[in-house]
Each structure stands twice: as C-alpha cells, then as structure tokens.
C-alpha cells in the first residue's frame, strides 16, 4: 500500500457519501479521472475508506472579492491572495460499507496499486476484462459477467459519426474478448465464440486480418499496457452479397477488396423455408394496415405449395399440395410443367405469387392466400414485393446453396454497405433470425454468439414496429440467457428502441452531439461527464457498467489492423505471388 498524499478533504463545505472536494497540496495536482482514497476514522466502526474519481478540477484566488482583484493580485501584486486549487470527487466506493462521508481535513491520497483496484471494484469483479486505459496508463476493466449473460448482457455504444469511435471501440472490445491472453478470463465462452459483424458503411472492416502501416510505438505501448499482443484478428471470414448484373460470374459486391471474400445468397427454397419474406417488409410503415396479415398468410401458403424442381437445385415451383399423399410435398422433386412459373429468384417468385394474388384474367384473388383482405391491400402488398424484388432480388438465386456460414472463423464480417437500405435490413434480419433460431434450438448459452451492429436506429427504431425491430427487442430481452449478445452502436441513442437500450448492461459513449448529450438516454453519465462528452477525442470513451456506480473515461489504443485500404501493410500481408 503506497501512501501518496495529494491534499485534504475540503472543510468549508459539506462532504457527503456521494461527493466531496479536495483542497490540493501546493506541490501536487489531481486531474480528471484520477482516483483517490480517503481514510476516515468512524466512531465504533473503525477505519472506513472512501474511494472516488475526480470529476472536476478548480482553482481560485482566495481573498479576491471582485473580478478586477485578479489584476491587483497577479499583475500589480498590490493585493495579497492565496491561490487555492481544488478537485471535485465523485465517490465510487466505501469500504467497508459504512455509508458515512469522509471527514473534513482528512488526507486524500492517490489510489494506486491495490487501492486503485478497489476504487474500480476490480477486486470484486468475477472476471475483469481490460477494455481501455485510464489516465494513469493502467488498464480499466469491465466485469465480463455483465457482458456474456451471467449477470447481464449486451453493450450499447453511442457517439457521433465521423470520429470513427463506435465501430473502432466495438472491434477493440472484440479483440480484447478474443485475445489469446484473455482466454483464462473469458473462460469457456472463449472457445468457439462466434462474432457476426456487419459492415454498414465504407469498407472499414474488410481489412481486419491485415496489419496497419500506421501502427506505431505509441500504440504498441497502449497494447502492452493492456497485456495483449497487438496483431490483426487471427480468424476472420469476409462475406459479401453478389454484385448485381454480373452475369453468370458471381463476384462479391465490394470495391477495395475482392480476394478472400466469399459471396452469400439464399436460394428460393431457403427463402421460403426460413420465412425470409418477412424481412422484405421491415419498413415501419408496413406494420400499418393489413400487410402483416397477408404476409403471414402468404408465408404459410408458400411453405405448403413450394416443391423442389428436379435438376434445378434451390429452385421451386408453386403447386397445390392437396392432391399429394399427406398433403405435403416434403423432399419430393417434380419437373416444371410447361408455362408454369419457375421460381429461380425473387422476381420470379413475385411472378409466381401473382398467379394467386393478382390473377391475369381479372378474377378474384385466391382467398386461401389473401385471407379476404381488401383488394387494395393485396395491391399494396404486391407493390411492395415488386419494390423489394428490384432492391434485393439479387440476394435470392437458385443454384447450389451459398448460405453464409459462421462456423468457419471467429469473426465473420458481412459487407452490406453497398446494398439498398431495405436490402440491408433484409440481410441483417435473415442472419439474426438464423443465429437466434440456432441458439433457441440448442437452448445452450455456450458457445457465445456476439453480434455487432452499427446504425441500430435503422434496425430497431424507437417509432413504429416491424419484424426486425421485434427480433432485436427479443434478442435484447432473451438473448442474454441464450448467449446471443448484441453490441449495438448508434449515433443517437434517443432514436433507438428503448427496450434494446435498457437491456444493455454495459453502456459506452464517444463524443456526443451537444443536444443529444442532454437527453435522458444518457442519464447514466454524471453532469460533468456529459459536458465532457462533447469534447471527447477519438479513441476516448465513457464506459458505464453495473459494477461501478460512476462512468469511467478510458482511451483505447490505435488498432494493429488496417481500417482502410491505404493502411494495409502489403509487405506484411500474404504473398501476392503465392501459388503462382
């Protein structure tokens, strides 16, 4: 235990169990985020240690009663005054738990070593995982129990875009989570953990496996402080949708990187079996009128009617199964009849559906498919389906299965940045549903499945309802026990469904817009932290976790992996001539 006095508890104002002020010694200082400890002798209770974090630092000329006195004191020197520097401290912990205020005049010491760990509750954390560096260059931890579902789950990251903090921090956190050095802490969840990351903007995340040329010694020191070898992600798989109109050649729809990227799509068979039709109707307005009703009807009918076509893997035709034995097609294969619409992609599925919903001969739609909704609703449904077919039609195509499979690597990056917003929601919905369904079926929390999703406000907006929002709320509420953990990021938390935010045990914020910082969604911040949130630099975050009653400000080091093409260290990458 090292003793390093920095000042004394201010005696001219009340100290309390939540906050007090320190009058600093002449030869020392306290800055924001510094950790301190005060020992108070409490009658009958013995020594009580109060730990706290500095939330504000102040200075004043004592004796100056007019503002102009400053000139008389500092410039002319004709007026005596004492320079007094103080620091405001927010109490983080009282040990033992005797909730008394620190005594006025008691010495205030810097909390270092074991005292620092106590101030930050590291001693009480079941599994402390380093997630940043404090102002004292030492790691700051979160209790993993509150992320991986044991006591809490999920993480919510807020911050304005452009300073590249949200995604960067999410990836940094993932790197900490998957670091070899942290295996012992992460425990059994470390092996076979699967991370699904959506790249929604630019191509920032397509280089996670490549070293960064701008990685320097300063960043190296940061990683050393965290005890993790700075290296790109060792196990990453990249997936992208197929490029449109590329003919029979299937190439990933990415700009800067083409090698090592696999293409994913769904066959019509998979589209029908997985009920992906619902994710074509994710616009909040779609929930109005009767569209969800007719959509569910069509989904059910599609499952009954779809039958595989011999010699055309993944393709189906729609035939009434009532004449078949048992009334089901099962794995049966048929030959497509002449003139029968063959469903090979989304547009052809729409054509096939039109036979039932908008018959050419002008007759009434088949009530088995429409459930007798108003004709205008059927038209609206078809209109939306046509729009979806043009926006995300290329994601559904027959042929051998091209399903995205997450088993191949620890981190799976899905590049959906080039897709139309509706198609992005479709992909996110389809993949989340798949992930969640798998876990629901096994009922096991392990292995952990982590989902990183930026622009959460697009997928789970505060207003309106929809299948995607419902699912994200479901994941937020039940995912914790199923080991499906959401790392959601958004520019403005106030636009995200409150159920999703409320269930995030760990909350993180980068720089915030001034108006946004005042909203109730950031009530977990201290007033002083809110004021600072407008000024945070890239690489600095505020973290709140249930184990610590005050938010902590941490920095995280520059990544050793490239975040854009120009940063890729070609020399250190795979040999381009390899295999020639």
């Amino acid at each position: 235990m090292s003793v390093e006095q920095v000042g004394r508890v201010l005696g001219s104002q009340h100290s309390s169990t939540s906050a007090f002020r320190v009058v600093l010694d002449d030869d020392d200082f306290l800055q924001l985020d510094d950790l301190v400890v005060v020992r108070t002798q409490v009658p009958k209770a013995g020594e009580v240690r109060t730990y706290g974090v500095v939330t504000e630092a102040e200075a004043v000329y004592e004796g100056a009663s007019y503002e102009s006195d400053t000139h008389r004191i500092a410039e002319l020197g004709i007026m005596p005054a004492a320079k007094v520097r103080t620091a405001q401290v927010q109490v983080t912990r009282v040990d033992p738990e005797v909730w008394v205020s620190p005594d006025p005049g008691e010495t205030v010491e810097r909390a270092v070593g074991d005292e620092r760990a106590k101030a930050l509750y590291v001693d009480e954390m079941g599994r402390p995982l380093a997630v940043g560096i404090g102002r004292d260059e030492l790691p700051v931890h979160v209790d993993l129990d509150f992320f991986d579902g044991r006591k809490g789950g999920h993480m919510s990251i807020s911050g304005i875009s452009g300073v590249a903090t949200k995604t960067s921090f999410a990836l940094f956190f993932l790197r900490m989570l998957s670091a070899r050095e942290h295996t012992a802490i992460v425990g059994e969840g470390a092996s076979n953990m699967r991370v699904l990351v959506f790249n929604v903007k630019g191509e920032d995340l397509l280089w996670l496996d490549r070293p960064n040329t701008r990685f320097d010694d300063e960043a190296r020191e940061g990683w050393a402080a965290l005890g993790v070898e700075p290296a790109p992600f060792p196990s990453v798989a990249f997936w992208a949708p197929p490029k449109r109109r590329s003919g029979d050649v299937i190439v990933p729809d990415t700009g800067g990187r083409l090698d090592g990227i696999e293409v994913f799509s769904w066959t019509p068979r998979e589209f029908i079996d997985d009920d992906l039709l619902q994710f074509c109707f994710t616009d909040a307005n779609d929930a109005k009128n009767q569209i969800p009703f007719i959509r569910e009807r069509v989904q059910t009918q599609l499952k009954r009617f779809a039958v595989n076509v011999a010699g055309r893997p993944g393709a189906v035709v729609l035939r009434d199964p009532s004449q078949t034995p048992g009334g089901r097609w099962g794995a049966q294969e048929v030959a497509a009849g002449p003139g029968e619409p063959l469903v090979e992609d989304l547009p052809s599925l729409v054509t096939a559906l039109a036979v039932f919903l908008e018959p050419d001969d002008g007759s009434e739609p088949d009530p088995a498919w429409t459930g007798r909704v108003m004709p205008s609703t059927v038209s609206a449904f078809m209109r939306r389906l046509h729009a979806a077919a043009s926006r995300l039609g290329h994601l559904v195509r027959s042929g051998e299965t091209r399903r995205l499979h997450r088993g191949g690597a620890t981190v799976t990056v899905v590049a959906i940045q080039s897709l139309h917003e509706q198609a992005q929601r479709f992909v996110v919905g389809a993949l989340l549903a798949e992930t969640f369904r798998e876990k629901e079926e096994t009922g096991q929390r392990l292995p952990l499945s982590v989902i990183v999703l930026d622009e959460l406000n697009k997928y789970a907006p505060r207003e309106g309802t929809g299948p995607l929002k419902d699912m994200l709320i479901d994941i937020a509420q039940r995912g914790r026990s199923l080991g499906v953990l959401l790392v959601g990021a958004q520019q403005t938390a106030s636009r995200v469904a409150s159920e999703v935010l409320e269930n995030a045990a760990i909350r993180v914020s980068g720089r915030l817009d001034a108006a946004e910082a005042e909203r109730a969604e950031y009530g977990w911040m201290l007033p002083s932290t809110r004021a600072r949130a407008r000024l945070l630099k890239p690489g600095t975050m505020v973290i709140s976790q249930p184990a610590i009653p005050v938010p902590l400000v941490v920095t995280f080091p520059f990544p050793p992996w490239a975040t854009r093409k120009e940063e890729v260290d070609e020399a250190a990458g795979p040999d381009p001539f390899e295999g020639l």
């Binding site: 004796g63 008389r72 004709i78 007026m79």
Partner: protein, 319 residues
Amino acid sequence: MARIFVEGWDPDYGTPLDQDDALSPAEGSVDTSVETDDWAPIEGCDDGVDRIAFVDGVRRIDARLTLDDPEQGPTPGLVGTFAVGAVVWDRETRRSEVTDVRIERWAVLAGGSGEQMPAVDLEPGVSTTRAPGDDPNLLTMALHSKMRDAEGECAESLSAECAVVADGPLKKIREHATVGYVKTHRVTYVEPPLGGVIAELAPGQRSPMFCIAAQTPYARYSWYLRLAMLQGGHSWTGIVRCETSGHLARDEASAIADRTAAVLPLVASEPHVDPRAPQNLVPIGALERELRHRMGDRGLVYRALRHAVMKPEIQQEAS
C-alpha cells in the same frame, strides 16, 4: 462661492474631512518652513524601493461583561479581539503576502480588584486588563490601545527590512522610517494661504513637509499628498496626510515623502471596490479582510466565553 459635493465614502465611515475638531489649528507649533519657504506642489519620486510593508490592525467587541461585586455593585467590562499584521508588497516579483499576523483577546474590566477572566477554550486565550474608569468608551480605548501597541511593534520589526506604511497616525515616535498614513483630517495643520497648495496638488504630488510638535520628543515630519482625483470630487478629494519620525535627518524624510507621493497612488483603491476609496489602500483593505477572518467566528467566541464563565455553575449542578 463655495460648491456642494457628495462624499465618495460610505456614510458609515464618516467623511475624509471629519468635522470633530472643525479643522482647527493644531495645538503646539507647526513649522511650515522645515523643508522650504516656497510653498508649491512637489512632484513625487519613486526611488524604486523593492519591498513595502503595509501595517494595520482590526478589533472587535466580542461580548460585554458585568462584574457583580457584592459590595461595590455591578461594573462594566468587555471582551474584545484584535488582529494586527502586515501585507508585504514585493515590487520586484509583483506579489503581496500577509505576514506577521498577531491575534490577542482581552477582557477589559472597569472595576474589581484582581479578578481574572477564567480560562476560555479559545486559541489564543483571553488575558485580563483593567480600564481606568467605567465609561464604555474607556473600555474600548483600552482595547484599542493594546492594538495600537501591537501595530507599533509590528511596524518596528518590519522596518528593519522594508519600507513601512502603518495605518493611522504614528503612536510612538522612534527613530525609524515608518510612515504613518492618515486617511481622515480632523485637524488643520497648515494655515491659509499655504494651505491652498493642498487643493492644488495633482495625483502623485505632495505638499512641502511641515514639522508638528517641533522641538519636542513627539516631533514628526508631515506632508499631504493626493492619491487620485475622483470624478465629481472637491479640492480635498483623495488627499491623505502622512507623517514620519521627526528624529530622522531632513533629507531622509524628504526622500520618504517623495516616495510616498509617487508610490501610494499606485495602490489607491477604486470607488467601486472600496467604500473608502481612494484613501483605503488596496493592500490595507485586503489585510483588514484577512485579519477579520483570522479573528475567528464571533459566534463561536461568544459561545466559548459564556461557557467559560458558567462552567462552575454547570459543574455544581452536575455534582
């Protein structure tokens, strides 16, 4: 035709021209020819002295006492606290600091024979002294006199290392260069027409020196100077009188007078920050605030005094 002016000082402090003695000529001889016969404003001269100490004291009546003698009947007394100290202005480093603070508490009794104030749980404690009569003013004067003595000692000890300006007339005239600084003018020392020079002084100028009580042990040199000319002020606005020991060589006294005329306007206070501007100098105003603070909380002192005198009764009841 005389004009009418409103004084700048807060009315609670009286006026710089206190009419107690109606500007009457001083008792004893005033020698106006000690420096020059040619009376005219003299330009001040800053000799660059690097340290100037401003000495002052404040006092406070903490409680009124009554000494209840079974035979003589009740006689009055009081308990008061004073604090004296100095602000040393280091002109080189342009810093001022409060030094040499001394705090004393006194019980002043008008009658009785050897009664002592019981021990009071205060730091510093209360000593007992006696006043020569039971007039309340005499009691206060006794405390005031103790304070003035302490001021004198403070000024004397500082005069070894810096130029000293002490608030108020000099109490003891010794052969050191302490300057007494008099804000209010109760007495007219210089008769017309020479006195007209005072009204002509510009800020930074002084009158020629004159000698008060010349040829006596209390002889001192004195001069008027103007600190500032306030807007809307009359001809004596911002005028103060200074004095120093008459035992100094005349040239030395002249140099001191020149220095005060040049330097004191630099530390004059401004009307918006001090109710006695410009005469109450900035270092002295700050010193008084600090000294008042150092005397301790009046309520706590009062409580301790009551506790001290009632202790025997409390103990009696307890037993």
